[in-house]
């Protein structure tokens, strides 16, 4: 093909009208775009049939801000926290519209709403695939299961306040998700499960319809949606959750839930059968999240084989590094002395365990340790299962896709986080409240804001995550990156020509003469978040490169290098007003050569860009309410966390780039 495919025009419409006479309703749908990747020009630009090429096309790629983890009223636990908004509402919110939040008054009107200060560019609604149908049965008096015990408990549990313990309606549903042999509840779904299946189909269709409605296929390319869901395995109360994301609108007739697949490998096999092999044009990937509450099993490698590792690497090119229920990068004391690892940690070690601030989680609950384990696996089996890039999400259960603003946080758990008092309270049985945070964003470096372009960025891991703010970050590695790259007017063009971007791989330099030329160089270029009118962004403090490697003896090592900026710049924040104090950097750029590089050792490198301190969301609440402390006693009832020394008042927002791997002998 040498030309762009035409947008559906009059000829297509005539064809559709012709068929409509024979097929009736099909006329409605025959105009719907069908994704077929078509390589259209010698520049490699791809425009799927059914959409216009984007006017804004960036040959050196642009950063698109979005998120990959949003729940709505189609999640059973969303219903339980009285979230009544659906995927349509989530996508409208992501694009800047207002979102209704619980509580609702007696006439069904929401008493709260929230709106983003800045819209995002893309989003994925990922409702729990397990219970699309069950809540609808329990809320439908015409359904046979309506008056059975699980449904009665489910209804009575909707909108219960935090601190009351896990409502029985939650346990009835959640218990199946921790069982190794989960079964659908016949008391809800009927003996054949048909009642839930039928309703589940209509929910899955509505999820697809909402994604269709939100995806801008015109040349404006203002917003991209993806069809997705969450596979919710908690075997033995340990989190193995994956978000499953489809490349386009061609998706299987039903999602693969924990009822259908109980292990990650079973999930991948099911996706292979139902999507890749099942439907021409279907493509899909899976993103693990909340390894921090996986009790060590998310990245466990006991008994791993080369084939199993390869399968994992194929399906899971990305990992969600942070979200509402905490940061999963690393934890001080677990193989690291990195002081910045004590960031947004939640005091839970497994999803089903109660809050335990003194507990020590398994090391493999954290992504950096998994990256190291991946190098070991490569040494032992020949295949690295954990060569993943970084993305972020909110995991909102209130449909608030992209709601990561610290000073505009309305809670992500519906009614249970609907007031400052609720948000600032301690949740003892499920992560939330004061331990939680507004979540994280995914940034994809793509040529344009289309599904195909963003999908390719995800597959090649040209992605970074932020703790919710919007710095722009480039990261390149290679042997021939020029030392003066940061002063070259065409930074990106030069860097692409001489290296690989974040998510890439650097082979051993066999043609290089002995050291120093065979030492790879890395470059980071970061711009601070420019903020939005009335909400200035925070300046940068420093740029770090985290190196992890494994030696010949199979022992792993890590080192964190400050490569730009100034850790001692003295910047701070006035916690009484949340006003930043002191200077930082609007932009930082550097080219860095690895000191003491040993070409025989496999390694990964990722950049961490750190902002000056700013107020944590909880401190914004305290300032807003004018709370003062006398010892640990707050001046306003219900605001105890404002005076609790264990609750940080400030944070350093940050971005994590996907790693670049160095592979000896490759």
């Amino acid at each position: 093909m040498s030309r762009l495919l035409p947008v559906p025009g009059p000829a297509v419409r005539r064809g559709a009208a012709g068929r409509s006479r024979r097929l009736g309703l099909l006329a409605l749908v025959s105009l719907m775009p069908l994704a077929q990747g078509v390589d259209c020009s010698n520049s490699g630009r791809v425009v799927e049939a059914g959409r216009q090429p984007c006017l804004a096309y960036h040959p050196s790629r642009a950063p698109y801000f979005g998120e990959t983890h949003t729940h709505t009223t189609y999640s059973f636990d969303g219903v339980l926290v009285d979230t009544r908004t659906d995927p349509r509402d989530a996508y409208a919110f992501a694009q800047g519209g207002p979102l209704a939040l619980p509580p609702y008054d007696a006439s069904g009107q929401p008493l709260r709403s929230v709106q983003l200060q800045r819209p995002i560019d893309f989003a994925v609604v990922t409702d729990h695939a397990e219970y699309f149908g069950e809540p609808l049965v329990c809320l439908d008096p015409t359904a046979a299961g309506y008056f059975n015990l699980p449904c009665i408990l489910f209804r009575s549990s909707i909108g219960t306040a935090p601190g009351a313990g896990l409502p029985p309606g939650f346990l009835f549903f959640a218990n199946e998700l921790i069982s190794a042999t989960p079964t659908r509840n016949a008391a809800i779904c009927g003996p054949t499960g048909a009642d839930c299946r039928v309703r589940s189909e209509s929910v899955w269709l509505d999820i697809q319809a909402a994604a269709e409605e939100a995806y801008d296929r015109t040349s404006a390319c203002s917003f991209t949606s993806f069809v997705g869901y969450e596979w919710t395995a908690n075997t033995s109360q340990k989190n193995l959750h994956r978000n499953v994301i489809f490349r386009n609108e061609i998706v299987p007739a039903a999602p693969t839930s924990y009822f259908d697949a109980q292990t990650p490998a079973q999930l991948w096999n099911a996706l292979q059968a139902s999507c890749i092999d099942g439907i021409p044009g279907c493509d899909v990937l899976a993103i693990p999240h909340n390894s921090n509450v996986s009790g060590g099993v998310m990245f466990e490698t006991t008994g791993a084989t080369a084939a199993g590792n390869a399968q994992r690497a194929k399906w899971e090119p990305l990992v969600e590094i942070m979200q509402h229920k905490g940061d999963s990068e690393c934890k001080a004391g677990l193989g690291t002395t990195d002081e910045l690892c004590s960031f947004e940690k939640i005091p839970f070690q497994a999803i089903g365990d109660p809050r335990n601030p003194g507990g020590t989680p398994p090391a493999l609950n954290f992504v950096r340790n998994a990256l190291l384990e991946g190098l070991v696996q490569e040494q032992q089996t020949g295949v690295n299962p954990y060569r993943f890039g970084f993305v972020g999400g909110t995991d909102t259960h209130s449909s608030a896709a992209g709601g990561t603003e610290e000073d505009n946080y309305a809670g992500h758990l519906g009614f249970t986080e609907s007031s400052p008092e609720f948000r600032l309270s301690t949740f003892n049985l499920v992560p939330g409240g004061i331990d939680a945070n507004p979540g994280s964003l995914t940034v994809l470096w793509a040529e344009e804001n289309s599904r195909e372009s963003l999908w390719r960025a995800m597959k090649r891991r040209e992605a970074y995550a932020t703790s919710g703010t919007r710095p722009t970050v480039r990261f390149f590695g290679g042997y021939s990156l020029p030392a003066d790259l940061c002063t070259q007017p065409d930074y990106a063009g030069t860097a692409y020509a001489n290296g690989v971007p974040m998510g890439g791989e650097i082979p051993q330099c066999t043609a290089c003469t002995p050291t120093p030329p065979d030492t790879p160089k890395f470059s980071v270029f970061a711009l601070q978040d420019p903020g939005s009118p009335g909400h200035p962004g925070t300046a940068l403090q420093r740029v770090q490169i985290v190196k992890g490697w494994v030696d010949a003896g199979g022992v792993t090592h890590e080192q964190v290098f400050d490569v730009a900026g100034d850790a001692l710049n003295g910047a701070s924040v006035d916690t009484g007003t949340c006003t930043p104090q002191g200077a930082g950097f609007a932009s930082l750029c550097t080219v860095w050569q690895v000191p003491g590089f040993d070409p025989s050792q496999p390694a990964f490198y990722y950049a961490r860009v750190v902002e000056n301190p700013s107020c944590r969301w909880s401190q914004h609440e305290c300032v807003r309410a004018g709370v003062t402390c006398s010892g640990t006693t707050p001046s306003v009832a219900g605001y105890g966390s404002c005076c609790d020394p264990a609750v940080p008042k400030t944070i350093q927002e940050r971005a994590w780039t996907s790693p670049i791997w160095y592979e000896p002998g490759a």
């Binding site: 804004a56 404006a220 420019p530 932009s587």
Partner: protein, 345 residues
């Protein structure tokens, strides 16, 4: 050739079968057909529609429930919304009874049996007997649980009726026009810039000095890529919008560009990052896309709106069939201005 064409048609058909819009339409049609097949025509607007009366005690109860549920003191507007909701509920309940939705309903039967078993001989265990005893005593009348069940059943039915029908082009055009704010595309401009980074001491002077040569150069495009300092994003001949410029470089750059005539290099404009000298190549005014460009979005939007609107419209239509009188507690009577609206519906 013929075989290939048939294969393509089959594939197209198979794809069409997977399309959510079709499934929605089909599910809607099935539900509609099912409703019709039971022989339940909409209840006739007959003379049996007795006026709906909301007593002062009922109003007080609604207000008390609201206070209990929300912890808020209801305003006059809240009170009127609650009463209006109650009137709608009553209309839905009566319609459900008129349609016979209670007959053969397992939920209603369950409730009546449960209630009767309290009243009946404690040795009576035959559920059918209990049910008929309950019916004889008219235990279903004014039972709150039965009422809630039937109202919810009625709502589901009305909502499903909204999925019926394939939108015509004219309807889709109407939807597009009615939602012009959502579909309107902002003005676009194609922009080049030369950037001078704050990270260099002389950046401001360099930016000022760069303007005159840029303006004098007849064809600067040749070497623009080699001028100024780098940005991590493309800076030459890139299509963008005002909103995007604010998001990327802050308000000052966006405002400066808005005032810039095409073809003229700007004076240096400050951003958090440094100084930008910018050239607008061309502008495209804001526009409302043609239906063909946004057909999918409009179609799914219209179908979703219809489902929501069907319930609202049908409920309102039902409610309009009734004369309504409300015994307002003192202090909550409708204000004079709203009185006609209240009674006129």
């Amino acid at each position: 050739m013929r075989g290939e064409g048939e294969g393509r048609a089959r594939r197209r058909f198979a794809r069409a079968l997977r399309d959510p819009a079709l499934h929605f339409a089909a599910i809607g049609a099935l539900l509609f057909a099912a409703g019709r097949a039971t022989g339940l025509a909409p209840a006739a607007a007959d003379a049996t529609r007795a006026p709906i009366v909301v007593s002062a005690a009922q109003v007080e109860k609604l207000l008390a429930n609201y206070r209990a549920a929300t912890g808020l003191v209801p305003t006059r507007a809240d009170a009127h919304a609650l009463v209006e909701r109650e009137i709608e509920t009553e209309a839905l309940y009566r319609e459900a009874l008129a349609l016979g939705l209670d007959r053969g309903d397992r939920g209603v039967a369950w409730r009546l049996i449960e209630k009767m078993s309290f009243l009946a001989d404690e040795h009576e265990v035959d559920r059918h007997a209990l049910l008929s005893q309950a019916a004889g005593l008219a235990l279903d009348e004014d039972d709150l649980v039965v009422r809630r069940l039937l109202v919810e059943k009625m709502r589901l039915r009305l909502r499903h009726e909204g999925s019926i029908g394939t939108p015509t082009d004219a309807e889709l055009e109407g939807y597009l026009a009615a939602h012009a704010d959502r579909f309107r595309q902002p003005a676009r401009l194609r922009l080049s810039q030369v950037f001078f980074s704050r990270s260099r001491a002389a950046a401001r002077e360099d930016a000022a000095a760069a303007v005159a040569p840029l303006r004098a150069d007849a064809a600067p495009a040749q070497d623009l890529a080699t001028r100024g300092d780098p940005l991590p994003v493309d800076r030459l001949a890139i299509w963008t919008t005002q909103q995007d410029l604010v998001a990327r470089f802050g308000s000052a750059v966006a405002t400066g560009v808005a005032a810039l005539p095409p073809g003229v290099w700007s004076d240096p404009i400050a951003s958090p990052y440094g100084w930008h000298v910018l050239l607008v190549h061309e502008r495209v005014p804001e526009r409302l896309p043609a239906l063909a460009e946004v057909r999918g979005q409009a179609l799914y939007g219209l179908l979703a709106d219809r489902r929501a609107a069907a319930l609202l419209a049908s409920t309102r239509a039902l409610r309009a069939e009734y004369e309504v009188s409300v015994e307002w507690p003192p202090g909550l009577e409708p204000a004079a201005a709203t009185e006609t609206a209240e009674s006129g519906s």
